[in-house]
Amino acid sequence: MSGADLLARAHLPLAALVIVAGIGVAAASRDLLKRLLGAGAAMLASGAHLAAIAPAAEAGLAAGLLALAAIGLGLVALVRIREAFGDVDGRRILAGLEDDAVSADRDA
């Protein structure tokens, strides 16, 4: 069996594995960077899977570009989160947002 055949057979389970692992990391991790990278890997894997299936190669490319744009946007948001909240610990950010909501209402 050639490498191309092997890849053709393996891309579906490989993509499924990466997607499950990526979404799992995105859901379970407290580190926002890990969450972003996990979700990004999952989306890129699904884009690659789509690209491997004819006739949707353009769709795979579009999915990849969307994923890269989203990851870039997420990284920018992370920088702003670090500036505003001090670190990238998800639990602290939730606490910070709660404080914001309370203070906004109290100020008003």
């Binding site: 990526g22 926002l32 979700a39 899977h49 789509l50 100020d107």
Partner: protein, 477 residues
């Protein structure tokens, strides 16, 4: 039929997707400080005209479900962009204002694409694009509202995770059925294609912010710029729900299949959770836009129960509820923009205090929307909830009917809170007078009020449109 009319009838869906996307991309890449608001508002209004033309002319461009969806999304988009010009200038700097409007136009284009396409890959890509672009829009508010950066980040995560599920599902459908066209894959619900349809539906549910996947939608609604909030929190979510409805119709073409049963059970469960969670969280919301987002979640839950109940009547109820919910949410979101404090990006509930004295028209529109939330008689929501209860009872789901009625009672608390703040409290000096620019909000508020009251009085026309769409997606004669 004149040539332009024939052109719109044939290419209407393409125009609705390409034109706002191109204008939005141009505004984003080359933001013009002065022209941005004018160009965005004009594009929104022109797209409303095209959508109305597509609906009136019929033709091969769109099916009845797409037509109905366009007639909901296009007015919300047009009214939203008209209002945006008056709000965005105070929220973001001038250069960023044009970028925000450009991103908003691209969200609108992607939403139009999602509701008019009959291709599963395009559906998945379009909805992912709405989420990514919506996250970008929210991130623009981060300079003045630190919660916006966290909300944008969460939206990015949802876009990536739901995008992964949706695109993988689309890939499974293409691989299993050998086609990506919805008509071509009808009846191919078994095996990999069936799993693909289920995954894509799950992605649609996440993008629509259906409970329990609705937290991100409320965060985004509360922190995205006021000027583009109707686009991000109504247009994008309704487009995703329409996509879910289309997939639901696909699953029901073989009523006895495992896929059809999974959609019924899953839809009923998600609907019940949505009605309960949305209603309860709306009562406790401390931000007006967060309240609107939770109320829309509850409406979506009600619609899902109608869909899951099955048949043309259930689908008709669902579509009517979603349209009425969009009209209600529009008034609440635009009203929150009109009532927002002079300083600050949030719209705390206390910003509604005493609004009736300063902006009686805004307060009246929000009051009508509040009554709409409760499903009060003479509002469109009443008819929608009535149809949903009928659909649930028709299926023998007494629990679902009881849940919808209980949610209406819960909404009375929400509506009472809004009315009490609007009419029986005084606006505090700390919040300051309601900001200027009320005229720009008039189209959105007037449209919402007119739809809520007129279709509550006589819902024959929208009911017929919903019936046609329901027949189209269920394959009923």
């Amino acid at each position: 039929m004149t040539d332009p009319a024939a052109f719109i009838a044939v290419h209407g869906a393409d125009i609705l997707t390409i034109a706002p996307f191109a204008v939005g991309a141009a505004l984003t890449v080359a933001p013009h400080r002065r022209l941005g608001a004018l160009v965005a508002a004009a594009t929104g209004v022109v797209m409303l005209g095209v959508a109305a033309g597509v609906a009136a002319l019929g033709g091969p461009a769109v099916d009845p479900l797409s037509t109905g969806a366009l007639l909901v999304l296009a007015p919300v988009g047009a009214a939203g962009f008209v209002a945006a010009g008056a709000v965005l200038a105070r929220e973001v700097d001038r250069r960023t204002q044009a970028v925000a409007l450009g991103l908003g136009l691209m969200v609108l284009a992607a939403a139009f694409s999602a509701v008019t396409t009959d291709d599963v890959v395009t559906l998945a890509l379009s909805l992912t694009a709405t989420a990514v672009l919506g996250a970008g829009l929210t991130a623009l508010a981060a300079g003045r509202n630190r919660a916006a950066s966290a909300a944008a980040f969460t939206a990015v995560l949802v876009a990536l995770c739901a995008g992964a599920l949706g695109l993988f599902g689309a890939g499974l459908i293409v691989g299993g059925a050998g086609a990506s066209d919805l008509l071509a894959i009808a009846g191919a619900g078994a095996g990999g294609a069936g799993v693909g349809i289920a995954l894509l539906a799950l992605a649609c549910a996440a993008y629509a912010g259906l409970a329990p996947m609705h937290g991100w939608a409320a965060d985004v609604a509360a922190s995205t710029p006021h000027g583009t909030a109707p686009i991000v929190m109504i247009v994008a979510r309704v487009a995703a729900f329409v996509g879910l409805t289309r997939l639901w119709g696909l699953s029901q073409l073989e009523p006895a299949s495992a896929l059809a049963e999974a959609f019924v059970v899953g839809g009923a469960a998600l609907g019940a959770v949505g009605v309960a969670a949305g209603s309860i969280q709306a009562i406790g919301a401390r931000d007006a836009r967060r309240l609107a987002a939770h109320a829309l979640t509850a409406q979506f839950g009600c619609a899902l129960i109608g869909l899951a109940a099955g048949g043309v009547d259930g689908a008709m109820a669902a579509l009517f509820v979603v349209a009425a919910g969009a009209a209600t949410a529009l008034a609440l979101v635009v009203g929150a923009a009109a009532a927002r404090p002079q300083l600050g990006a949030a719209a705390p509930m206390s910003a509604l205090d005493g609004l009736a004295a300063q902006r009686p028209f805004v307060a009246a529109a929000m009051g009508v929307a509040a009554f709409g939330l409760t499903g009060a008689p003479l509002t469109a929501a009443f008819l929608g909830k009535w149809l949903s209860v009928e659909a649930a009872l028709g299926r023998g789901w007494y629990w679902a009917a009881a849940l919808i009625v209980a949610a209406s009672f819960a909404a009375v608390f929400v509506a009472g809170q809004i009315i009490e703040r609007l009419y029986f409290r005084e606006r505090s000096a700390q919040i300051g007078p309601a900001p200027a620019g009320a005229l720009a909000f008039a189209p959105a508020l007037a449209a919402s009020m007119a739809v809520t009251l007129a279709f509550g009085w006589n819902g024959a026309a929208p009911l017929e449109a919903a019936r046609l769409a329901a027949r189209a997606i269920t394959g009923a004669p």
